[in-house]
Amino acid sequence: MLAQIKHILPKTLIQRERTLPATGDVVVRQGQYVEPLDIIAETDMKQEHLLIDVARGLGLSPTQADQMIQREVGEEIIEGDIIAGPVGIARRVVRSPVTGKIVLLGEGQILLELDSPIYELHAGLSGKVTSLIPGRGAVIETTGALIQGVWGNDRIDFGLLQSKIKSTTDKLILDHIDVSLRGSIIVGGYCDDPTILKKGADIPLRGLILASMSSRLIPIAKKVRYPIIVLEGFGALPMNDINLNILTQNVGREVSINAESPERINGKFPEIVIPLSEMGDEEPPITDLEYQPGQVVLIVREPAARQIAKIKTVYPEPRPLASGITAPAADVMLSYDTVIRVPLVNLEVIA
C-alpha cells in the first residue's frame, strides 16, 4: 500500500517550485540567493474594471459614439484624460474618472482595466534560485533541516529560533512570551490561550511554531501578522520527538517559516526550513514509498497520537482494530517498547 509521507529531516536537499497564480514577471535571476521575504515574481491580477458609457456621456447613439472615441485598445489612460469627444457646440467630452488601461471598446462603451495592487510572490525560504519558470516563478534550492507542519496562517518570515518547550507535552503559557523574544521565531507546545497570540503580535514575534493549538484560536491566528505553524494538529497534542529534537538542536539559528495553508492535492504544506552548511551529498526527500517493516512512522490519531514508532509488521489485508473497525494495519513499536496495532492510513512514514 502506498504510504503517506511526512518530511521531517535533520538535513536534506530542499527544492521548492514557487509559482504565481497567473502569468506575470519573474524578477530574480538564475543563481541568485534569496531570503524568504524576497519577491521572486509579481503579477497584476487585473481584477477591477470600469465600464464607461460613452454614448450616454456624449448623448449619442452607440454607433455615433464609437466614432468619437479618441483612444484605442491597450492605451494607458490617466484620470481626467479625455477619452471621447468633443461633440456639438458645447464641445461635450467624456473624461476618464480613473487611471487604467483600455481593454475593450465598442457599442458606445469603453471597458477600463484599473490599476490594481500587484500580487507579489515571496521566495518562502532562504536559498539559491536554481531555475526560472518563465512568466510564473522559480525553483529555489537549499540544504538544511526540513519540518512539515499541518496548518499555517498564510504568512512568511524568517528569524532566530528560540525555544519555550522542553518536553513533548509542554504547554505554551503567557509568561513564556516576553520582550526579549522580539524579532524571534518561538517554538512552543500546546496553545489554547488567545492572549498569547495577541501578545506575540505586540512584541512583535517573527513567527510562532506550535506543537498544537485549540481550533478555537484559528480565527485569531489568521488575523495576526506573523506566521504561525501548527506541527501536530488541533487539541492538546504533544510535539513528536523528532520535531522536538530538530528544533531544540537548532535554537539560535536562523530559520525560514512558510506558514502557507496546506494544499494536499498539490503536496503543499506549511514548513520550517533551517539552512545548514552544504556537504554536497544531500538528496531530496523521498516522495514515493510503500509501508514496510522497519520504517519510522508518525501515528496521526489516537491511540498514541503524534508518537513516533517503528513498523514491525504490515498487514495488507484488513485486521480488527481498537476502534472495532477492520482495516489494513501495522503493528508498530512505540519508544517504550510497547507494540500496538494501528490502521495503515493513520501512519505517516518519516522520510
Partner: protein, 584 residues
C-alpha cells in the same frame, strides 16, 4: 475498447474517489451476472502522483491478485475485450468523485429564481458555488464582470428568463459573462452552460461561442414556479467529464477505455436510485444516501424520476469542517453517548481536515465520527426534502416521504464495526417514516452499477436481485405525538414456524423483532394514538409480509423529528439504551 452492449459478459468498473480507488468486477456466475470481487488502492490524484493512473492500476492489480486473473497487459493497459482463455475484460466503466469540486458561478436574473435554480443544477454534480451573480443585486455591470474574473470558475451556469419572458436582462448578464471570459487568459477561461430563455439561444450563441466553450440546454426555470433540471443535468455531466479529462491526468486514458462514458459517481448513484423506483413501481419513493470524502449525495426518486443533491460542503473528507457553517459542534456532540465537549468535537473536525484519509483509532473517535455522519445525513435529507414537489410529498411537511427501500453507501455506514451502529446512524440521521427497508451497499456497488447501466442493463438487474447488497432490516417508524412511554403501535407477529407473539411499542423506544436474514415474517400492525405508518392515514394499519434483515425487524417509535433530551445525563442514558437494543 468495447462498443458491444448486451453481448458483453465481464465488466470492470472503476470508481476513483477522493481517498480510495475501487476496481469492481462483475461477471457471469452460474448463468447470472454477479458481483465477483473488489480491489482497492489509494487514489493518486494528489501529489506526488497527480495522475489517477497509478491508483487505478494498483486497484486492478489487487483484483487480479485476489482472483488469479489478468486484466492488465505487460504495458499496464486494460485488455479489452477478453480473450477466450479468460484474459482481460469485456467492458469497462469509470466513475469519478475525486479531485477538487468544480468551481461554479451561478448567473441569473433573480436570486430566488433563476440563480437559485442554477445553484440547484450545480448541486447535481461535484461543485462548489464560488459566486452568485444576478441582475437584481446591487452590483454594477463592471462589478459583475470583476466578480466572475475574481472567482476563477471552471464553469458558469447562466440561467434567466422564463420561456418567452425576459430578454433584455438576460442579455445584460450574457454581456457580463462574455466580457469577463474575454478578459480572462484563454487557458483559464471557464466553460459556460446556458440554461435560460430558449428564445435567446441564437443570440447567446453569437455572443459567447467565439470566446468560450458554450453548451446550451433547455431552460431550467421555464416558468416562475417550475424548475426542470433533468434535461440540463445530462449536459452538465458531459461538462464535468470534459473538465475532469482536461484537469486530472490519467482520466482521459481510462475514459477512452470506458467508451467516453465516464460519469460523476453521484450521477451514477442517482441513476440506480431512479432505476429502482421505476422497477418497484410503488407509490412510495426510493431514497439513496452516500456519505463520501468529497460530498454527501442524496437521491430521491418517484416512479423513475430521481432528484438529487451532491452536497460538496457536507463530506467526511478534507472539507468536513464546513459542517460547522450549518450546525454547532454542540449539535454533533449531542449524538455521542459519552461526555465529549464541543471543543473536542471541533478539534476532531479540524484534525480530520488535516488527515482526511485517516480513520478512527479508538472507540471514542469512532463515536465522534459516527455523530458527524448523523448530522451530515440530517442536513442532506433536509435539503432534499425541500426539493420535493408538493404532489410527491406524501407525508407531513418537513418529514421524509414514505420511501421503500433506503440504500445507504459510504464507508462510515458500511464499514461500521457493528451493523447495529449502521442501523442507528441511519435511523438517527435519515429519520425514515412508515414502513421501509434499510439496505447497505457494503461494497460501494451502486455507482458501478449506475455506470454499467449504460452498457449492460441485464447485469444491473441481476446484480441488484442478488445478495450483493445487505438487507439491514425492515423498519417501522410511526409518526405522531404522544407522551413518552405511551403505547403507540401494537404488533402481532407470526413467524415462519407458526409461532405467534405480540408487542406494544411505547413512544420513545426502539424495539427489535427477531427474524433471521431472509426469513419471512407476517405482521399485523395497528397504530395507536392516531399515529401514522403510511398505511392509509393516522391510526390505520394492516397486514405486512416482511423479510427479515440482518438485524431482524426494527420498530423505531422515538417520534419524528427525533428530539433528544436537553439534560446531558438523560440524553446519554437514552443514547446508550438505544444502542444496546440494536447491539450497537
Amino acid at each position: 475498447m468495447s462498443e458491444s452492449s448486451v453481448a458483453a459478459e465481464s465488466l470492470l468498473a472503476v470508481d476513483v474517489g477522493t481517498i480510495n480507488t475501487r476496481a469492481i468486477l462483475f461477471d457471469i456466475v452460474d448463468g447470472q451476472y454477479r458481483f465477483v470481487a473488489v480491489g482497492k488502492a489509494k487514489t493518486t490524484i494528489e501529489a506526488p502522483y497527480l495522475n489517477i493512473g497509478e491508483g487505478v492500476r494498483r486497484a486492478i492489480s489487487k483484483l487480479e491478485k485476489t482472483l488469479g486473473r489478468t486484466f492488465l497487459s505487460n504495458s499496464q493497459s486494460l485488455i479489452i475485450p477478453s480473450s477466450p482463455d479468460g484474459i482481460g475484460i469485456d467492458s469497462f466503466a469509470l466513475t469519478i468523485s475525486g479531485g477538487k469540486p468544480l468551481r461554479v458561478v451561478a448567473v441569473g436574473i433573480l436570486e430566488e429564481g433563476s440563480a437559485q435554480s442554477a445553484q440547484e443544477l450545480a448541486a447535481t454534480t461535484y461543485s462548489r458555488i464560488v459566486d452568485v451573480v444576478t441582475i437584481n443585486s446591487q452590483r454594477t455591470q463592471e462589478s459583475r464582470i470583476d466578480a466572475i474574473i475574481k472567482a476563477r470558475p471552471d464553469l458558469i451556469i447562466l440561467a434567466g428568463g422564463t420561456e418567452n419572458g425576459a430578454e433584455r436582462s438576460v442579455m445584460t448578464m450574457v454581456e457580463a459573462v462574455g466580457l469577463a471570459c474575454y478578459l480572462l487568459p484563454k487557458d483559464v477561461r471557464p466553460e459556460v452552460l446556458y440554461v435560460g430563455n430558449q428564445a435567446l439561444r441564437e443570440k447567446v450563441q453569437d455572443s459567447l461561442s467565439s470566446i468560450v466553450h458554450l453548451d446550451i440546454a433547455p431552460n431550467i426555470r421555464p416558468s416562475t414556479n417550475v424548475e426542470q433540471l433533468v434535461p440540463a443535468q445530462a449536459k452538465l455531466i458531459r461538462i464535468y467529464q470534459r473538465i475532469r479529462n482536461k484537469k486530472i491526468l490519467g482520466v482521459s486514458e481510462f475514459d477512452i477505455s470506458a467508451g467516453r462514458r465516464m460519469l460523476p459517481t453521484a450521477a451514477a448513484f442517482n441513476r440506480i436510485i431512479g432505476f429502482l423506483s421505476k422497477t418497484y413501481g410503488s407509490s412510495k419513493g426510493v431514497l439513496g444516501i452516500d456519505i463520501g470524502a468529497s460530498a454527501t449525495t442524496v437521491s430521491l426518486a418517484f416512479s423513475g424520476n430521481a432528484m438529487m443533491k451532491t452536497i460538496s460542503h457536507l463530506n467526511l473528507g478534507e472539507n468536513v469542517v464546513d459542517i460547522l457553517r450549518f450546525v454547532k459542534a454542540e449539535d454533533i456532540a449531542r449524538w455521542i453517548p459519552g461526555h465529549f465537549s464541543p471543543d473536542r468535537v471541533q478539534d476532531y473536525l479540524y484534525n480530520k481536515t488535516i488527515y482526511p484519509f485517516s480513520i478512527p483509532g479508538t472507540v471514542d473517535e469512532l463515536s465522534i465520527e459516527q455523530a458527524i455522519a448523523r448530522q451530515l445525513m440530517r442536513l442532506a435529507v433536509s435539503e432534499i426534502i425541500q426539493k420535493i414537489p408538493e404532489k410527491d410529498n406524501n407525508v407531513l411537511a418537513g418529514f421524509l416521504p414514505w420511501v421503500e427501500p433506503i440504500i445507504a453507501s459510504g464507508s462510515v455506514l458500511t464499514k461500521a464495526p457493528k451493523l447495529g451502529q449502521s442501523m442507528l446512524m441511519l435511523l438517527d440521521g435519515i429519520q425514515p417514516v412508515g414502513v421501509t427497508t434499510l439496505v447497505l451497499d457494503k461494497n460501494n456497488l451502486t455507482p458501478a452499477l449506475g455506470a454499467a447501466a449504460e452498457i449492460n442493463q441485464m447485469l444491473v438487474v441481476q446484480v441488484l436481485e442478488s445478495k450483493a447488497f445487505l438487507n439491514l432490516g425492515t423498519v417501522i417508524a410511526p409518526v405522531g405525538k404522544a407522551k413518552f412511554g405511551t403505547p403507540v403501535l401494537r404488533v402481532w407477529i407470526k413467524q415462519e414456524d407458526g409461532t405467534e407473539t405480540n408487542i406494544d411499542v411505547k413512544y420513545g423506544s426502539i424495539e427489535v423483532i427477531p427474524a433471521s436474514l431472509g426469513q419471512k415474517v407476517e405482521l399485523r400492525v395497528l397504530p395507536l394514538q392516531r399515529f401514522d405508518i403510511g398505511m392509509g392515514g393516522p391510526g390505520r394499519g394492516g397486514r405486512l409480509r416482511v423479510i427479515g434483515g440482518a438485524l431482524g425487524i426494527v420498530i423505531d417509535a422515538r417520534g419524528r423529528p427525533l428530539m433528544l433530551p436537553e439534560n446531558p445525563n438523560q440524553r446519554q442514558e437514552l443514547l446508550k439504551k438505544w444502542a444496546r437494543v440494536l447491539g450497537a
